[in-house]
Amino acid sequence: MAEIVKIKYLIIGGGVAGTTAAETLRQNDPAGSITIVSDEPYPFYSRIMLSKPNFFLGKIPFENIFLKKENWYKEHNINFMGGVSASDLDSQKKIVSLSNGQIIEYEKLLLAIGGCARRWQIPDSDKKGICYLRTLDETKEVINAIKTAKKAICIGGGFVSFETCELLRMKNIDTTLLVMEPYFWANLLDEESGLMIEDALQKGGVKIFKNEITEEILGDENVKGLKTKTDKEFEADLIVVGIGIMCPMNIFQKNGLAVSRGILANEYLETNLPDVWTAGDSAEFKDVILNEQIMLGNWANAQTQGKTVALNMLGKKQPFRMVSFYTTIAFGLNIAFVGDMKVSEGVSVIKRGSRESGSLGRLLIKNEKIIGATLMNRTNEMAPISKLIENNFKVAGHEKELADADFDLKKLL
């Protein structure tokens, strides 16, 4: 049996949550041993940059993607194990087994495992030319493919398709977008906002087909196209699939870790297992502002959680408190999401602006309070809306102002 190595802080995941946690731990505990285990073979890099034109189209040196160089880990006495994943967890013995055969006994364990691109569940979807955009290696594949691609298809109505379509069009590649929903980003947006995005995509030369589900993938070793359930055939030598992320939780789950869509955690980012914590995209945590269990996939959230979770691992009992947000831009359209964007039961919506006017905001109201917003070309309202959410602003009596697209929301602060 392999020798057991004892580590004070074991971090599974080398992304922004895991790396920020390691950095914060080291600042507060100069001597405690820290190990980061990452299934990707690279030091911490900027996932945000992967789908940005500067990097994607090779306008800046490839090395710029890295936010920490290898010597950073040495300088901070952090042991980085790249290309290794966790294969087993025994939370009673406090032991994690790794894919390289090593066994680590931890004092505190952080599961910052992030998410991986949801795989397309269609026969033959492993053909060459069918790609995902999540990890650095996956992105490298797409970057290579666009050098020769003539016709591309993007699958899915979310941010991966939104950004990828623009990159493809910048390379003058014939681009078709297939979504299975009746309009773009239908799981988060209303139809009017979705159509605004479609307007921008179409203006940029993207052909959009909605309510289309792929039935068959065409080609031999290399993909040549696909056929949908409505019997339409599309040619393509590149297909980029952006249909969401999923968390690889299986090994932890079978060891009694409580999970739902992600790893369940309280406001201190503690899981149900002793001395096991979670942060970042994989955390489904208790949000103290919204008073709900939520899961978010964005950089600022993961970074801030990495910091908070480290402080809690150090025993500082600090609840995670942040109004989260996400922004993206492509084809000249600015999209921003603030707080909780899901119109669940008991949520009403106040509209600001319209598709015709070129800017459209939606304020989501629950129990007389703003809980979130979606903003098309109204990014400058992110800050005041975040503050209104944080301050528990009472909507009653202000409905007219909130529905007036020209009303300055800062006046309510």
Partner: protein, 91 residues
């Protein structure tokens, strides 16, 4: 000893408003109406710089925290310079 940061600049073309810098150093960075990072300076001045650290609206600037704020930027939009104008970060 690490070089002392004297001047800071946010490249507004690179900045995407991910707010990493604000998470690290909210007393120095904030987002403006265009969702770009600006430096909070004395006299109510807020712009993306370049600005010298003495102009920041804080009693003292922690060099290490400022470097961390720049290093945390996912698009490497924050540039740090020393006294002689030499670029310290991105390195």
């Amino acid at each position: 000893m690490a070089k002392q940061i004297k001047k800071v600049l946010v490249d507004r073309d690179l900045c995407i408003g991910a707010a990493s810098c604000i998470a690290v150093m909210p007393e120095v960075f904030e987002l403006d109406g265009e969702n770009k990072a600006v430096l909070i300076q004395k006299g109510g001045i807020k712009n993306s710089g370049p600005a010298t650290i003495d102009a920041f609206d804080v009693s003292s600037v922690n060099q290490e925290t400022l470097r961390m704020a720049a290093e945390s930027c996912p698009t490497k939009a924050i540039f740090l310079y020393d006294e002689d104008g030499g670029q310290i970060y991105p390195d």
